[in-house]
Subunit: 325 residues, 2 copies
């Protein structure tokens, strides 16, 4: 990865020019090759100044999902050490699934600038307009039984909500099981898929879709994007998708290791503190029935426990929730 | 399927000759075509007598896994209405999985005379020598959550054990979760695989491997075949793999519909009555520990409940069991 090598030399000297001669020496290539790589980086959207007698200086980085940009200063040991990006793909989850079936290892991340068949829970569509969102799928190989899968979804919801809070400063909350809301509007969805045997999970594909800088006019009704919600508080800047992706991967890994080492308890506690609905009145929509009640708690296995008006507790492991105001 | 049409005409008149003229009329084809199809059927192993002036008579049927043979008098509505057979394949489960991913419908059955990469639970190998066993995979699309998957395995174990009893007259029993034993030796294994989201199962591949007429010398140590166990009681005949396959599909469908209509309770009761180990002392081998205790019960979710000597109840949803005599 010579491009990345040259880029890293420039990145490490942000206020400085690096002479052509020095670049040649550090990257161990010829003067002509340097020029070719600088041009290629510029094509990818990097702004590189070339000053006579002084050399090269990096003055701008594109907010494109370039693997090197994501890996740059990414503080993880497993997740995102290998990143595969696409300009356009049918579904990052579908691709990650087929890679995992071929044995691709844990931690590999698939990203796309656009999805033509982005998918949500229960076969629903996930709107994925180009260059404004994050459409990310991650291959995980946790040592869990199939009934443990909701733990991975809840863990991911916590990691994403935390990352969104860190970067936007907005009060992102979780709606069970896997939506992230800002001001009551959905800005992120999570789709967990797996291949499993009766008593062991072969792999999990964790899919995360975030509306980052997506303009309201291309977002389905009722949903929003981080940028649109920040604009309400007067901030008009774009959010860096690269930085948000990095934070998501870092937080994911932190909680994933926490789950491995200390079980689900600590994550459930954080989940509850991020929850938009525990203690609220909700409507539960199942395939064959609908009922109202109080969202009382999350069970050890990740199910939602709802207290109906009759006092009966219902355990909800599937279905949709509507919050009643 | 002209072959099957001609075959069915002959099958329906087992003690009788059917004249060439009549065959032409009933199958609506020419005399020359009849001859061609009769030859093809003979190639497949059907024994068809041709007597001058009398016509044709079916006197013998091969015990090959021919789709038409399995479908002939198969009393099911869903399972096995479409059967795909192979002389040799890597794994029927792998093929069924990839077909299900492409949208192939519930009930389609894959069979092979031989598997080169037959698989068992937890990535283990399943020995699949040619033309002596049943290697069957079935595509199911049950409306269950991922944690419901053990129910399908237990249901299948009951269906197979019952079928083996019916055909062999031997006391086949179930060892949790999915082995069928005769005289303490494994004659059948079940591998349930699935693709699932957090709260919905996309499809289940139910794989069943039975050592039917398999000679002891090609069976892994500790296991056996139905024929070998029947030989101990003096019976030296082969078991019809076709008939056993049919019974398995019929019993599977019966219990599958029972599960759909009346829940897991009735199946669990039958499972318990077939169990080799409830009430027995067992050793449980998990990934990170081993313990002994009494196999006390099966939980609502299909887990095994073991009472340790300390009195503590352990719920076992994965792992291996050894019965202690």
């Amino acid at each position: 990865m010579l491009d990345e090598k040259i880029l890293n030399i420039l990145r490490n000297r942000p206020d400085d020019y690096v002479s052509g001669e020095e670049l040649c020496k550090l990257a161990d290539i010829s003067r002509a090759a340097i020029w070719k790589h600088i041009e290629k980086l510029r094509d990818e959207g990097y702004k590189i100044e070339a000053a006579p007698h002084l050399g090269y200086r990096l003055v701008g980085t594109p907010d494109s999902l370039i693997p090197g940009e994501i890996r740059w200063r990414l503080n993880t040991k497993i997740l995102g050490k290998e990143v595969i990006t696409y300009k356009k793909i049918d579904s990052t989850n579908s691709l990650a699934y087929s890679l995992a079936e071929k044995g691709v290892k844990e931690g590999v991340v698939i990203l796309a600038e656009e999805q033509t068949k982005g998918r949500g829970r229960l076969g629903r569509q996930w709107s994925s307009p180009p260059k404004t969102g994050i459409y990310l799928s991650c291959i995980l190989r946790p040592k869990i039984v199939p009934s443990g899968i909701p733990k991975i979804t809840l863990l991911a919801a916590v990691a994403v909500a935390k990352s969104v809070r860190e970067l936007s400063g907005l009060w992102a909350v979780i709606k069970w099981p896997n939506d992230i809301l800002i001001n009551g509007k959905k800005v992120c969805g999570i789709l967990t898929e797996m291949k499993a045997e009766q008593d062991t999970v072969n792999f999990v594909i964790l899919g995360i879709g975030v509306n980052v800088n997506t303009p309201l006019k291309v977002i389905p009704k009722g949903a929003s994007s981080i940028k649109e919600e920040m604009a309400r508080s007067g901030s008009l800047a774009d959010i860096s998708r690269i930085e948000l992706t990095r934070r998501i991967l870092e937080n994911l890994e932190e909680y994933y290791i926490l789950l491995k080492n200390r079980g689900f308890g600590p994550i459930m506690d954080i989940w509850k503190s991020f929850s938009a609905m525990l203690g609220s009145r909700i409507k539960v929509i199942l395939q064959n029935k609908t009922f109202e009640g109080l969202a009382q708690d999350i069970d050890d296995d990740g199910s939602l426990i709802v207290r109906r008006d009759s006092g009966i507790l219902e355990k909800v492991s599937s279905g949709d929730i509507v919050m009643i105001r």
